[in-house]
């Protein structure tokens, strides 16, 4: 790891650089917000249409009743693992280089988990009855069924959302204090509330660091369990080729993998847009690239062993699915999209970042 000279004298400059986007807003920022708002409006319109006309608009049909919504759900919960993995695991292993990338990764966690929650609602056939899923004492005297993997899932995601909110908030307290001292107007009130009286004393730092030290291992455990449980949604089902123990580790590795990729892309954009070359350096892409290489190889292994166990087990129902995937109806997307493109693309991304191509 390249160690930089002491940065004490740089602190005013760092604060100035990093808080600059809070002070100034450019026209293209407004434009971008506008464009994204249009996307949100289009999505809301589409969802309204689906609720009004029926869930059949998803073009799903039996016998498999789950489709793109559950796929997207799994993807977004996977992306949300980047933050916890990068900042949690790397914090536990004392990898100091993580510092500039943790905040972005944690923020991605938060946002991704909010998007995840949305997909649960999109998926429901009668979303206006979603409150049947919430355990609260009601006059109907019925509780949700905690034997259902979907309830484990809902519980896990709620826990994860709560925990990761605390996890992003705690290290943010000193930064809220920094922002509080630099802005005016309603934002000052907001940041004052959020900073909950932080003034940077030794005792406060000590308390905060203890809190972070306690929550870090907890959130890593939550992270692993959450994605295992998302895997259970499939693994617990009787559906051929789903009913497998491989799903929990598969999903955890896949989640970390896609999360890493998302963080790298996010970092790249952030670095370019806000001119943060001094803070987000080639070194970070190298390190993340190495991690990505590890998860790529792990995932490739899991792809392989998933098919191997089915092939070797030779159970007719499972084999029928495998044949459809590898040689039949779905052969082109599976081979083209998953096996041929994904590992090379990911390895390429890892190699690319590792060789400093993003350095300039």
């Amino acid at each position: 790891m390249t160690s930089r000279p002491s940065v004490w004298e740089d602190i005013p400059k760092i604060n100035r650089d990093l808080l600059a986007p809070l002070q100034t807003t450019t026209w293209w920022y407004g434009l971008w917000v506008g464009v994204l708002a249009c996307f949100v409006a289009a999505g809301a319109g589409a969802w309204t249409y689906q609720i009004q006309t029926g869930i059949g608009q998803t073009d799903l049909h039996h016998p498999i009743f789950w489709g793109s919504y559950i796929g997207s759900f799994v993807f977004w919960i996977g992306v949300s693992h980047s933050g916890t993995f990068i900042s949690g695991v790397l914090r536990l292993t004392n990898a100091e280089w993580r510092r500039p990338v943790t905040r972005l990764a944690e923020l991605m966690t938060m946002i991704a988990i909010m998007v995840t929650a949305l997909f649960i609602f999109y998926h429901l056939g009668r979303v206006w009855r979603f409150y049947y899923l919430i355990p609260y004492p009601n006059q109907r005297e019925i509780w949700p069924n905690f034997r259902s993997p979907l309830m484990w899932d809902a519980t896990a995601i709620f826990t994860y959302a709560t925990a990761s909110t605390i996890y992003i908030y705690l290290p943010l307290i000193p930064d809220f204090a920094l922002a509080r001292d630099r802005v005016q107007g309603w934002r000052k009130t907001l940041y004052r509330r959020l900073a909950i009286g932080w003034h940077g004393s030794q005792a406060q730092w000590h308390t905060l660091e203890t809190a972070i030290r306690i929550i870090t291992p907890l959130i890593v455990m939550v992270m692993i369990s959450v994605h295992s449980i998302v895997g259970f949604d499939f693994g617990m089902a009787l559906v051929p080729a789903w009913h497998s123990t491989i799903y929990a580790p598969y999903f955890v590795v896949g989640a970390v993998h896609s999360g890493l990729g998302m963080v790298m892309i996010g970092l790249y954009v952030l670095r370019k847009v806000y001119q943060l070359h001094e803070y987000i350096r080639t070194e970070h892409f190298e390190k993340l690239g190495k991690l990505l290489l590890v998860t790529t190889l792990l995932l490739a292994y899991l792809y392989f062993s998933e098919q191997l166990t089915i092939w070797y087990g030779n159970i007719p129902d499972h084999l029928a699915i495998q044949n459809a995937l590898l040689y039949g109806t779905y052969a082109v997307p599976v081979h083209g999209g998953l096996y041929l493109c994904r590992p090379p693309a990911d390895t390429g991304l890892a190699w690319f970042s590792n060789n400093g191509h993003w350095g300039s």
């Binding site: 029926g54 869930i55 049909h61 039996h62 016998p63 056939g125 979303v127 899923l133 949700p144 309830m151």
Partner: protein, 245 residues
Amino acid sequence: MSRDPQTPQGYSKTADSPYKWEMVVDLDRCTGCEACVIACHAENNIRISGEEEAAQGRAINWIRIERYWEGEYPDVKVKFLPVLCQHCDEAPCEPVCPVYASYHTPDGLNAQVYNRCIGVRYCGNNCPYVARQFNWFDPHWDEPLAEQLNPDVSVRSGGVMEKCTFCVQRIRTGKENAAKEGRRVKDGEITPACVQSCPTSALIFGDRNDPKSRVARLKKSERGFHLLEHLGTHPSVTYLRRLAE
């Protein structure tokens, strides 16, 4: 460990009910006429799907006749297999429902409570018999067809899973009539629509707990088997093999 599927004693979840409704399907008698399918549609307010939806695999049938061709033309044989919800004692659809819309009644029926269902569709994925059907859209009947709906069966809205109930509305009426007279339901007193309409009496319905009922006797037949027995779902529908080929 192997459990004898013919006698799942100690397995029954029906301890607090005197009844255990079961069906026997005699494949030797089934001619594949589909009268049961039509009767079921009429009795249970099953939505009319139309050509387009049927082509998409979205047509709803609570009971279907599967056809199996054997041999090459002209020496060809066809076998029919009526498939409906098997009302499994160990139903895979039940534990996965997050809101208890799919559950087991004391009578040993596998129930779907439409007004509780929120449409997560896990039960549909998990049914190995593909007996569960989903309402992708709100149902529609052209006038005056809406007037012929059975008032004893709710009309399922869009976003709800549905399936065979063994005509629970008829079971309910039968049990009420028996209760008023202070007796047990007699064998043959309750007939689901499919059983009632089967011209060859290939379908037999009754109470397994009554040792003298036709179902209880036929269940013990040497010809008896269950669909996908190896999954351990313990279906309530027993099939009787064809006799002669």
